[in-house]
């Protein structure tokens, strides 16, 4: 019991701290790396939830692909803004906003809202026992039977995104 | 429209890919070179000025150290200049020894050039193979001259000493590891080394990717920039001073001038060098035949201890390993040369870098430096 709490606590702490650092890190590259850490620890929580498949995908897509893409964008976008971010004089309002208070407030509001929805909804309030977890095989089978059309749509979306990104970033050649 | 900022990169003077202490400033747009400029002078040793305070014989060791990878050819060029100035007749045997040594030196120098280019392109093994074979030439040279790299072997009017006993050997087929003679080396070189280079690199697909179409040098540009030697020949110009302006006894030898395609690229420069090694081996074989058939010991004429050439000047064009070596010698009648001007092919070829590099990738840069095969000792002198 305690071990579980400890594990979750550690992961949650890392997640939140790194997410906080994404907002407050001075350098944008640091922010990107903190974001990768945050994604990683979220993947750890997925593992705790016994969702290995999603945990691996989380690392693969978020920590791998998206972080690298963002890093590349940072490198390519502007050398100047990597190193120094403009330090402006802040008003009190900005300071409050920058303090992270908003995060807590918004988070709590969301949590409360979700708890409310959770209680008014028809979701069973008793957690089901551990037996019978999903296997990748089942996920795959469902994906290619019940969700064939969404799957194809998602594929087309990715394809379009790829083509779009290439067209947008390709240098115009005469 | 704002473009991505260019990155200024400094290659050298202490950089693993620049041959010697060359510094190249490169501006990169992403990975593409937009501007390149060689910065030289890190190895300047005042060779030309230094020569003015030496006697003619004393200059010879300094010529070794200009293009230190091709020492014999430099000595040869300088000796030819002094001999022309003084009108000295060189004994026939000495001429043959000189030519044989010069061609062996050319093989040796090309081996290093090719090996270094291979190393730059990441083929470490090719480099070590070149080293291994060069070692064999060095051992031969050590037996002949006493020096391994800088020989001080040629003398004005001849050579310092005759070939040692039993070094010529006999022609044989194939490789004989125990055969430590010049013939043994040539046999080994022709039957083993040259096919190996072809197998390992020339016909290697990755090597061809890296070199074919990289930095093409049209013949008119090559001529306009004063390129010579393998670089010029790779651009398709059939120009070899040994054939076109024969000096010494080169008109007695049979050999071909390898040329590249119309627009010589790095691969052409490579192939021309490999081919030149083959031709040099041919010349060495002919010289060896003559030397074996005509024994003798007259290798240098009797000359006064202190040479005082008559007043005048002379210019010698010499086909060195890397291109045209020019020696402009001015004598005021004293024991020391009034002026020694050394025209070095590497210095000229280095000026091609800003022309060749732009538009290519950073990785091509080192292929280009490797393919024009510069020796900084000669660039800076």
């Amino acid at each position: 019991m305690t071990a579980q709490y400890l594990s979750f606590g550690a992961l949650a702490l890392v997640t939140l701290w790194s997410a906080y650092k994404v907002v407050t890190a001075r350098l944008i590259t640091h922010a990107a790396l903190w974001m990768a850490l945050s994604f990683t620890s979220v993947s750890g929580i997925f593992l705790m939830l016994q969702q290995e498949f999603i945990a691996a995908l989380q690392v693969l897509i978020y920590a791998g692909a998206i972080t690298t893409m963002i890093i590349f964008a940072i490198m390519l976008s502007s050398i100047r803004e990597i190193r120094v971010e403009p330090q402006e004089k802040r008003s009190i309002g900005q300071r409050i906003r920058a303090s992270g208070l908003l995060a807590v407030v918004v988070g709590l509001v969301f949590a409360a809202f979700m708890t409310y929805v959770y209680y008014v909804s028809e979701i069973p309030k008793e957690a089901v026992p551990d037996a019978g977890l999903l296997t990748v095989r089942q996920v795959g089978a469902t994906l290619f039977t019940r969700f064939t059309v969404p799957f194809e749509v998602a594929s087309i979306l990715l394809l379009l995104a790829m083509i779009g990104a290439i067209i947008l970033t390709a240098k115009e050649t005469e | 429209m704002e473009q991505t900022r260019e990155l200024l990169i400094n290659m050298g003077p202490q950089h693993p890919s620049t041959h010697g202490v060359l510094r190249v400033l490169v501006k990169l747009d992403g990975e593409t070179i937009t501007w390149a400029e060689p910065d030289i002078g890190y190895l300047h040793r005042c060779f030309e000025k230094l020569s003015e305070s030496k006697t003619y014989t004393q200059v010879i060791p300094y010529t070794d150290r200009t293009d230190y990878l091709s020492a014999i050819t430099n000595e040869h060029a300088f000796c030819l200049a002094v001999e022309k100035l003084m009108g000295i007749e060189v004994p026939e045997r000495a001429e043959y020894i000189r030519v044989m040594m010069a061609e062996l030196q050319r093989i040796c120098s090309h081996l290093l050039g090719l090996g270094a280019m291979a190393l730059d392109l990441g083929a470490v093994t090719g480099f070590l193979y070149a080293w291994r074979d060069r070692e064999k030439i060095y051992s031969l040279f050590e037996r002949i001259t006493g020096g391994r790299m800088l020989y001080n072997y040629l003398r004005i009017g001849g050579v310092r000493n005759d070939l040692p006993e039993g070094i010529i050997g006999t022609p044989k087929d194939g490789r004989d590891k125990a055969d430590k003679t010049i013939w043994g080396f040539i046999n080994y070189f022709e039957s083993y080394v040259l096919p190996e280079w072809d197998d390992l690199l020339t016909n290697n697909r990755i090597f061809q990717w890296r070199t074919q179409g990289v930095a093409p040098l049209p013949s008119e540009v090559a001529i306009a920039y004063g390129a010579s030697g393998p670089v010029l020949r790779a651009s398709g110009v059939k120009w070899d001073l040994r054939k076109n302006v024969p000096y010494s006894i080169y008109d007695r030898f049979e050999f071909d001038i390898p040329v590249g395609k119309e627009n010589g690229d790095c691969f052409d420069r490579w192939v021309v060098r490999v081919e030149e090694m083959r031709q040099s081996a041919r010349i060495v074989k002919q010289a060896l035949q003559w030397l074996a058939e005509n024994p003798g010991d007259y290798i240098a004429p009797k000359l006064p201890r202190v040479l005082k050439p008559p007043k005048g000047e002379v210019y010698i064009r010499y086909e060195g390993s890397r291109g045209e070596v020019g020696v402009h010698l001015v004598s005021d009648g004293s024991a020391n040369p009034y002026k020694v001007k050394w025209r070095s092919p590497c210095f000229t070829h280095l000026q091609l870098l800003p022309v060749l590099a732009p538009g290519h990738k950073l990785a091509d840069m080192i292929a280009i430096i490797g393919s024009i095969d510069i020796v900084l000792g000669e660039v800076d002198r």
Partner: protein, 103 residues
């Protein structure tokens, strides 16, 4: 799984909150993209929590998460491409300076 469900749910909500906070306060376009990814992560966490606690044998949750990730990846690639174009054309990544449409 004996962990109370509020733990992962709360974590997801907080993650979402931090993401929202950042997206609202920061002006750097690349950073805003990062915060959107953080928010999506919070959402995914919630999805997976509910799946794990109540429908462990139903593949819909993971698949929905998969789609969220797909969309996130697509969004990131297109978003970054657009940002790169903005940088090339306007020389800035600050969203409040990209105001050509403002009179």
């Amino acid at each position: 799984m004996q962990l109370p469900i509020y733990f992962p749910l709360g974590l997801g909500a907080l993650l979402f909150g931090i993401g929202l906070w950042g997206a609202l306060t920061r002006t750097n376009a690349v950073r805003i993209l990062m915060f959107i990814e953080l928010m999506l992560n919070g959402v995914n966490l919630n999805l997976m929590t509910f799946t794990r606690y109540y429908y462990p044998e139903n593949a819909t949750g993971p698949i929905l998460t998969l789609f969220v990730m797909t969309v996130a990846a697509a969004e990131a690639s297109i978003g970054l491409a657009i940002i790169l174009q903005i940088v090339r054309n306007r020389g800035t990544v600050e969203v409040d300076k990209v105001d050509l449409l403002k009179g």
